[in-house]
Amino acid sequence: MNAPWRERVVTFGDAGHLAGILSLSDEARANGAPPVLMLNAGVVHRVGAHRLNVKIARRLAAEGIVSLRFDLSGLGDSPPARTAVGYEQQSIDDIGAAMDCLKQEAGVDEAIIVGMCSGADNAYRTAVVDERIGGAVLLDPYAYESVGAKIDYMADRAANPDRWMQKLKKVAGGGETEEAALDIDLTLDIDAEDDERALDVERAPPPVAEFGGDLQKITDRGGKILIRYTSYVQGKVSKPAQFFKTFSDFDFSDRLSVDVSPHVDHTYTELTAQEELLARIPSWIIENWSKA
């Protein structure tokens, strides 16, 4: 293997119970970007949904950027913590311990945090209180309804002839089943729609004023934020302008970017969608930190 980077197993935290993988570049911090911290997406272990954290780590390492992917207490290979501070505070504490680990391993007191879904919630909450986090990539963080997105959503559904055909078949009775359309017996039980709703159960968004105020608190201190929304928030956000309209009372001083990719699903299942993300994160980091 001739890759200009390597990976190392690390354990850290007060109880030494947190398990992670450090990706180290032989040209560490060649472009001046701080290390990147990657969190669990929902309950998926540290490799991330569809192994995305691993792919991001190696793409970053190829650019000379160090990263750490790790399991929060009670997830993946990290056993539950012995403290009783509650999930949200424990996540903040765990991420703080990961920051300490990065400082020890990479000698830097700043990091960019990347989180998807509940990982985005954990990343956001920690970035508000831990000033060592200089940047955050939030993949499908909290989203709030907007009239424009609702109209886009309804129009998109109404314009799909297959949806009308499906309704007509239901009314007429019978019709081709999904299995017949695919000409195969689907023996594996999967209901991804339910899955993604299941991930959302605990994700009651804070009030707009609170979320906006917190994001501004991060940008006010010089932190940079990249928010990427997918089809997961259809009906809430379909264009970046809708986000900024919702948060028009706040001033993010050009330190907050919003991407909206309605053609991408919540966990970036399709390889083309993954490639888009794998290109976007390093380029956003290099673009923002090489200026610094």
Partner: protein, 271 residues
């Protein structure tokens, strides 16, 4: 529980070793062989808990990621069935060396079970037997299933009719290039197209146990074929097996306890 990297030739693999707790009678060590793709993510917690229970029952356990999967090096496109089998043999030697055990049982789930059978076709020192958990038996059928599953998954996550997805992506090919977030390379296609466990030439191990939710004709055929090759086959049914193989089950921490307990008990009694 100790996480570490080890090598299979030039390939760096990631493993987690669970040292056995004290026991009156030491069962064989156990190597856990992951399934493929999304199934490996769903199985991660199940395998960790299975490993912990086996260690409590006195077995040394190693779980690991194949090259091109999980935390091991390699891109997803480099993962192939023959590589999985080769990695299983390397992990087996690592387990024996770490534990000091003289023999080990390989527990393989889904495609990991098929890889374990293929790996055992070459004479392997210290292989006590195989435990096949919902094994993939036929490669082309697995590929077709993976392609259809991908289409259905995409339809579901976008809340679209299947027909809309079929119009965009086309019908699932016999050799899909991706399934639910994971690449399937041409090499993997070739390996899977050649996979039919009911046609293997050599007895994979003297003792082969299996557990499945149902016993299909194909499974009965595999059991008969293994017996014809001289293996002692013990095929159990877990008809009430809770469905672990969905993201929903993973999110709800579903554990297929009956199957897991059956495996722990079988390892404890392994002869």
């Amino acid at each position: 529980m100790t996480s570490f990297h080890f090598n299979d030739g030039t390939q760096q693999l990631f493993g987690v070793y669970h040292a056995a707790e004290p026991a009156e009678k030491r069962p064989p060590a156990v190597l856990l062989c992951n399934p493929f793709g999304e199934e490996a993510l769903r199985a991660h917690r199940i395998f960790r808990i299975l490993a912990e229970r086996l260690a409590r029952a006195g077995a040394h356990v190693l779980r690991f990621d194949y090259y091109g999967a999980g935390d091991s090096l390699g891109a997803c496109g480099e993962l192939r069935l023959s590589g999985m089998a080769q990695n299983i043999r390397a992990a087996h030697l690592e387990l024996l060396e770490m534990s000091g055990a003289s023999r080990a049982v390989w527990v393989g789930l889904r495609l990991g079970a098929a890889a374990a059978v293929l790996a055992s076709e070459e004479r392997v020192r210290g292989l006590a037997g195989l435990y096949l958990w919902e094994p993939v038996i036929n490669g082309p059928a697995f590929l077709a299933e993976a392609g259809a599953l991908h289409i259905r998954h995409i339809a579901s996550v976008f809340d679209q009719p299947v027909e809309t997805v079929l119009r965009r992506l086309g019908p699932p090919p016999a050799a899909p290039s991706e399934s639910v977030g994971f690449e399937i390379s041409d090499d993997m296609h070739a390996d899977l197209n050649a996979l039919d466990l009911t046609c293997i030439d050599q007895r994979p191990a003297r003792s082969v146990k299996a557990i499945t939710e149902e016993r299909t004709e194909e499974m009965a055929g595999l059991a008969a074929h293994l017996e014809a090759l001289g293996a002692q086959v013990d095929w159990r049914l877990d008809e009430e097996q809770v469905s672990w193989n969905s993201d929903k089950a993973m999110n709800e921490f579903i554990m297929p306890n009956k199957s897991v307990n059956a495996i722990v008990a079988a390892i404890g009694d392994w002869r």
